[in-house]
């Protein structure tokens, strides 16, 4: 079974993002970029499936600027077998990404597509679900456990009320939650070997997709500064303060 793992190049999770002066977005000039952490978990899960003998080939795909090639190299260094870069200068939105991924799925026929549940840059949390809908295939989102037996994928999902387990028939779409696994560090020898693994260059046009934005960003601003707190002596004082603020009656 082939496993397809889409990976996104995003602002590094350690970097404190700064909003551009003109409020059009986050300033990415000279900012460290890395693989979206949820996608790392997806790559790790695919590698574990391969180590278990379930997956036969892992294909990493990224849709983005030329530099996304580095993100793909990271996936290859971790253990993906080959990579596809779909080059676009547009800030591809979830629907455009899902459409391109559908094109790749049609070509590659993977048994599983494992995506991050969301990317930490825009936190959309849509691509996996849209892809499942476009393909008309089952989805198991927010996975904290994935087990494959024959053509059935059992996914334990983290939902508000606790854990929910769903059984999906392959081909299926899985999106990863934080607790699914702890991604490995690529070893240094594997990083060196990654440069000789195949990496195919494509464009959205190859899949008949137009990535021009459909959404308009009106304004991006910093979250409101947190006000300094006050210490209260006991519950009565707390309730008193809350009443003054009009938070409780």
């Amino acid at each position: 079974m082939k496993v397809l793992v889409p990976v996104k190049r995003v602002i590094d999770y350690n970097v404190k993002p700064r909003v551009k002066m003109d409020g059009t977005g986050v300033d990415l000039a000279n900012v460290k970029m890395s693989m979206n952490p949820f996608d790392e978990i997806a790559v790790e899960e695919a590698i574990r499936l391969k180590e278990k003998g379930v997956a036969t080939e892992i294909i990493a795909v990224s849709i983005g600027v030329q530099k996304a090639q580095e993100t793909l190299r990271t996936a290859l260094a971790m253990g993906a077998d080959r990579a596809i870069l779909v080059l676009t200068e547009d800030d591809a939105e979830p629907l455009a990404v899902a459409k391109i991924l559908k094109g790749i799925v049609d070509e590659e026929q993977p048994g599983l597509v494992i995506l991050g549940k969301q990317a930490i840059d825009d936190d959309s949390n849509q691509t996996g679900q849209m892809l499942a809908a476009l393909l008309g295939r089952p989805q198991g989102t927010f996975a904290s456990k994935v087990e494959v037996a024959g053509d059935t994928v059992t996914v334990t999902r983290e939902v508000d009320g606790g854990l929910e387990t769903v059984a999906l028939k392959t081909p299926a779409i899985v999106t990863t939650d934080l607790r699914l696994n702890e991604p490995r560090y690529a070893s240094l020898p594997n990083i060196m070997k990654a440069k000789s693994k195949p990496l195919a260059n494509k464009t959205p046009a190859d899949y008949g997709v137009d990535t021009a934005p459909r959404l308009k960003t009106l304004k991006v601003e910093e979250p409101a500064k947190r006000q300094a707190g006050v210490k209260v002596a006991d519950v009565d004082e707390l309730i008193g303060k809350l009443k003054v603020l009009g938070v409780v009656a």
């Binding site: 890395s34 090639q69 260094a77 240094l188 990083i191 990654a194």
Partner: protein, 383 residues
Amino acid sequence: MDSETFDLLRNTVRRFVEERLIPAEDQVEQDDAVPEAIVSEMREMGLFGLSVPEEYGGLGLSMAEEAGIIREITRASVSFRSVIGTTVGIGSQGIVIDGTEAQKREWLPRLAAGEVIASFALTEPEAGSDAGSLRTTAVLEGDRYRINGTKRYITNAPRATMFTLMARTDQGVKGSGGISAFIVPADTPGISLGAPDRKMGQRGAKTCDVIFDDVMIPAENIIGGTPGLGFKTAMKVLDRGRIHIAAVSLGMCDRLIEMSLRYAMERRQFGSPIADFQLVQGMLADCKVDQLTTEALMNATAARFDAGEKVSLDCSALKYYASEAVGRIADRAVQIHGGAGYMAEYKVERFYRDVRLLRIYEGTSQIQQTIIAKAMLRAAASA
């Protein structure tokens, strides 16, 4: 190596340092040991193979690249570097530089994989700076050498599986010409270890005496096969090692400056952050100047080393400058931290003790000065 691949290497190491090594620093200090789990992770990452050529299973990094990676690693407690330090550096490089093809094939792949941990045994109780006067004897009996002597302060001896050992094969030659370098498996009968040394700093990095008592070693274990060239091998190894030590210094500079900046911006006195006071700014600026000059000298020296130029003088100048510079930076870092800088709770206190060693081993500052001046005088005399 192309820059994209190298960036990926460096970023991976940086992340490992941030996520694994730095959080474990205090435990290393407390236990006086690097946790085995971390040693395994370092092995799995391939860190033991940095300097072993690719055809023998290592990464084959250039000196500039090795320095870049070591600089990242030593942002975390320098004791972690010590785990790989002797294998990557002085313990394996003798074989890489002067070993026979058979020696390379036998040892380098296992060194690169971290299966064999190498130590470098030169110093003796009576032979430190004057290493050429060493007294450990290796006497030929048939096709084997009988080795007797004591080595002192040998880093990683407790975990070593192999020693690069310097011993005198020609008792008639008192100076460096009578010395040979041997590959000695640590489990050879007759080798014993002294008690672990109790040190000022670098807790977690282990040194001790290594005693050789009628240790029999095949003659073919002489690095390069020819007796009498051991001291030359050791000096070549130390050239590379000195650039490595400069990289260690720089990694520690980087971290000390990070900590000092953060503290200076957070700590308030007289109603403002201490970073606002010009005298504190002066200390910060001096740290930066020391860091930048070390970096410039290291980059230049590593580039010339990689180009195959003769750089012994430069290596000594670099090691001397870098180790003294990080000493100054550590001193200022403690000063910027005030009383907190004297307290074990703050990491600068540990750094202050840890950096002290850099001016002593792999040639003291005075020995570097001597090497530099002698080379200058030789050049002037022959001009």
